[in-house]
Each structure stands twice: as C-alpha cells, then as structure tokens.
C-alpha cells in the first residue's frame, strides 16, 4: 500500500495536475477570503468554507479522474493485480494518494487563520473543526470519483461524470425543497444530502454523526471500487 500511495502522490507532482489543482484551489479560496473577510471586515471563515464546496465539486474529479482509468488504458493494472498486494491495499493506496494532494490544498485554511490572527484573535476551534469537515467532504467526493474512474478507461469521461455527480450532490438540498410535497422522497434525499452534514462543520460543530456519515461514504465507495475489480476478474 505504501508503494502505491507514494507513486500516486508523486505522479501528481510529476505532472501538471498537482500544480493546477493547487493553483485553482488557492486562487478561489483566496478570492473568497478577500471578499468575505477583508472587504466585509469579519474574522469568520464560515462563508469561505461554504463557498469552497462548489470549487471542491469541480476539483476532486480532476484529482481522482486518472487513478484507475489511466491504469486500465496503459495496462499497468496488470502489474498491480498480479502483484502480491491485495485489492484492498491497491484501492486504499490510490485513495490515500489522491486524498493527500487534496489535504495539501486544505493547508491554506490554516494560513488564512494565521492572517486573521495578525489582526484579531482567530477562532481556531472553528477553523480546525471546519477543516476536518472540508477534508471529510472532499474525501467522500474523491472516493466516489475513484469509483467512477474504475468504471472507465477514459480520464475525460471519469472527470465529466464525476463533476456531474458532484453537482447533483451539491444541489441535493435544492431537490429536497423542490420535492417537499413527496415527503418520503424528500426526507430520503435529505438524509443523504452532503450539504446538511457539511453545514454543521462550518458552524464549528463537530458532531460524531456527521463524521460517521462521511467516513461511511468513503468506505462504501472504496468497497464498490474493490467490487468493480473483483467482478471484472470473475466475468
């Protein structure tokens, strides 16, 4: 697993992906930070964090799109699947590699905290709590995108489908209010709406239920990814 993780992370930095993702992430985070904190003179980062959701929806598929699709296209999956490493190790290594790049992006929020600290005492509890939330949110989206990537040989398809799925997840709370007349459907959608779970983090509430929700999504989609390869092997 360590080998796959290391290779995955270094492959992002050997190509342009890591730098582009980081540039876009930092660019938008900085823009939101300037607009909400500097121009309206507040020390609260919660607007920055809730606005970052939509940026993450676009960026996580870009991070995860190549994880398995490219392996399949280049036939390098043959090396992975005939090595003594188990499918679990392979999928987890891939996930952690992609997640590590995303986590590096999220370091920017601590920089923002430090900037606020220069003017007024920052609310570090909220910043740390929300960063955990945004890490979990991104982790769940990356797990979904890795699953999508395992289904196709094309990075482009993986990215587009990933963005579409991410966007549906982002809009989920809107669907809930649209469908409020159909009660069972709206409550079901409400239960899986990422926004609900993420929102609590941006208020500075670290609720175990929210953490468990995102960890479950990650575990579920990594499990699905393993199943994709098992099914392919047995077909």
């Amino acid at each position: 697993m360590g080998a796959i993780f290391k290779r995955e992370l270094s492959s992002y930095f050997n190509s342009a992906i890591a730098y582009i993702v980081m540039a876009v992430f930092f660019g938008f985070a900085g823009l939101f930070f300037t607009v909400t904190c500097f121009l309206s003179n507040t020390s609260s980062l919660s607007y920055v964090f809730s606005n970052m959701f939509i940026i993450i929806v676009y960026l996580t598929p870009i991070i995860a799109m190549k994880s398995f699709s490219e392996e399949k296209r280049q036939k390098t999956d043959q090396a992975l699947l005939t090595s003594p490493a188990s499918l679990f190790e392979i999928v987890l290594g891939k996930f952690l590699g992609a997640f590590a790049l995303y986590a590096i992006c999220c370091v920017i929020f601590f920089v923002f905290g430090a900037v606020i600290q220069m003017f007024t005492p920052a609310n570090w509890a909220v910043i740390i709590c929300t960063t955990i939330g945004i890490l979990l949110l991104g982790g769940a989206l990356i797990a979904i995108d890795i699953f999508i990537s395992a289904l196709t040989e094309s990075q482009v398809i993986a990215a587009i489908v990933g963005i579409a799925v991410g966007f549906i997840i982002y809009m989920m709370s809107n669907f809930v209010s649209m469908l409020s007349s159909v009660e069972w459907l709206s409550s079901a959608l409400n239960a899986i709406s990422f926004t609900n779970y993420y929102q609590n983090f941006t208020y500075g509430i670290l609720d175990l239920r929210d953490v468990v929700f995102f960890l479950s999504v990650i575990a579920l989609f990594l499990f699905f990814t393993i199943r994709v390869f098992e099914r392919k092997r047995w077909s």
Binding site: K6, S11, Q78, S83, P84, S86, K232
Partner: protein, 319 residues
C-alpha cells in the same frame, strides 16, 4: 512447479481457453506456441491470477491461485504482452516502485542494479520511460518481472518489438534464466520457441493440439521422410530411375529450374535411408545431382499442419 488442470475460460458463449491441462516442472523452459488469438495470453493471465478461470485450477508450488493469491503471485514474475510501465517515471524509480509493490525482501539498491545489469538497461536508468524505444521498454518490463528472483517466470511474447541483435540476447538470457527458474514463455514465432525451449505446447483455438519435447515435435507429426533434389537431366529418365528404388513412396517434380534442371521431392519410408540408392540410380541414368537435402518437415510446416488440422476439425464440427 506449475500445475494447470482442466483450465477453461468462457466469455459469454465464446470459449477462449478450452479445458487445457499441463504441468511444468521446476527448471523447465516451456514454450507456448500458437497463432494470434489462440488463447495464449488468456491462459497466462489465468496462471498469474489477473483474471479468474471459468473452471479448472492452477496450482503453483502447492498453492491454488484463487485460494491463496498472495503466495502464488509472490512466486511468479510476469511480463504481460504489453509491458505494464508507468511511462511518466524514470526506469530506476519505476523498478523501485515495483520492488516495493512486490514486497521483495532483498537489499533494494543492489538488487535493482543487478537486474538492470542483467537485462542491459543500466545506461538508461535515469531516463523517463516515455522517451525510451520499444526494445528498451520491453526490457524494462522484463526487469520488472525479474525483481525478487521469483522461482517462476511467465513471459508473454517477450521478444516482440526487439531488433535481431536484441532478440538473440533476449533468447540467451531466457535460456540462462531457465537454469535457475521455471520459465513459461509464449510466442507465435516457431523458430524462437524451438531455439529456447525444452518442451513445446502448441495451442490452437483454446485447445492443446501438441505437447512434445522440442526435438520430437516435428517427427511425431510427419509420418514420412522427405528428400529434396535438384537434378540435371530429362525428367522422364529421372522419374524412371527413382521409381524403382526400394522404400520410395512418392516422387513429385516440383518445378523446372532451367538448363535442363528440375527440383524433385522424394517421399520415402521412415527408417530407410535411400540417399545412397538415389545417388547411384541417378548416376547410373547418366544424370547429375546438383543438390540434395534430406530432412523431415520443418517445424514451421508441422506447426501449420497442426493448426490447420485443428481448424478444419472445428469447421467440420460446426457443420
């Protein structure tokens, strides 16, 4: 030791590998021969655990590949048809990654240098794989298979894309490796298989059509011996003179070469050497033998014969 028993792979209604069984002993070099699409790669993918079989088992050193994949995969070095290379890495980085992936427990730096020396890629160790030629890439893939000194090597068409010099080097390398490792290697080039292997399995349409020692393969298929002659003289005289020789089954005039010379093929019974009689008979008829070549069918002939026989049988079966 590799034991393959009743191995079958079906994709829907199409049977790609059909109930094949064979055993490879340690220290043996087995050649896997067949036309494109015969099921060679599929069989190898099943032995290495890349895909599962529809039925049948593969046992490697006592462990079944689907029950105990970790142990089996640790014992096998595999070079697939398309070498599984991460083209954005340097050769050394790639081999280091494969070393870690395979959980090899040898001194890392020394072992990788040794393998690179063995397949002669030390001079490109710091180059990015993307920029290497096909021959080098093939050898990097080969190096990857050798990492950890696995007792069993499975090589799927390892010489494809190499130049003649490299092919010769690769062959002698495989022969040397065969002294310490069990090697299964596939090819559709017959001369190559016969040059390297102790034993040859011919596979066609997913079935084994021959499983022989290399030197027996052609003898076992062709019933009679053949003599090829270039003779100067009128053809009726030649044919009359040859006809009466005991042991001769059939004489065929192949074509005229010109200058009153023609090429003949004489088929004669196994076990009787007719060369002396032919020489004397032709000399007695006042003709001249310009060229005489004895030998049973070449491997290429017998291979084609095997494969086409099998295909004819299959077509007959469909009807």
């Amino acid at each position: 030791m590799v034991e393959v028993k009743n191995l079958t792979k079906r994709y829907g209604n199409v049977t790609v590998v059909d109930d094949i069984s064979f055993t490879v002993d340690s220290g043996e070099i087995l050649g896997f021969l067949g036309p494109n699409g015969a099921g060679k790669s599929t069989t190898m993918n099943m032995i290495t655990g890349y895909i599962s079989s529809s039925s049948g088992t593969v046992t490697v050193n006592g462990a079944e590949v689907l029950d105990n994949p970790k142990k089996v995969k640790g014992n096998i070095g595999y070079l697939p048809e398309i070498p599984p290379l991460y083209v954005d890495m340097t050769v050394r980085k790639y081999l280091e990654f494969m070393f870690d992936l395979k959980k090899v427990k040898l001194p890392k730096k020394e072992h990788i240098s040794e393998v690179m020396r063995l397949v002669k890629i030390s001079d490109v160790s710091e180059r990015i794989i993307k920029h290497l030629s096909k021959g080098y890439r093939q050898r990097v893939g080969f190096a990857q298979a050798l990492l950890g000194n696995p007792p069993i090597l499975i090589l799927d068409e390892p010489t494809v894309g190499l130049d003649p010099q490299q092919i010769i080097e690769m062959r002698s390398l495989i022969r040397n490796l065969g002294k310490k490792h069990t090697v299964i290697f596939s090819s559709h080039v017959l001369s190559e298989v016969s040059a390297i292997c102790d034993r040859i399995i011919v596979i066609s349409n997913g079935k084994i059509v021959a499983d022989e020692k290399a030197e027996n393969l052609s003898a076992s298929i062709s019933g009679e011996q053949k003599l090829r002659l270039d003779i100067e003289g009128s053809s009726s005289t030649v044919l009359d003179a040859l006809k009466v020789i005991p042991g001769v089954i059939k004489i065929r005039k192949q074509h005229d070469i010109g200058n009153k010379t023609a090429r003949y093929v004489v088929e004669y019974k196994n076990g009787i050497d007719v060369r002396r009689d032919v020489f004397k008979a032709i000399a007695g008829a006042d003709c001249v033998i310009l060229d005489m070549q004895n030998g049973n069918e070449t491997l290429e002939d017998s291979f084609l014969k095997l494969v086409s026989q099998d295909q004819r049988k299959n077509i007959g079966g469909v009807k």
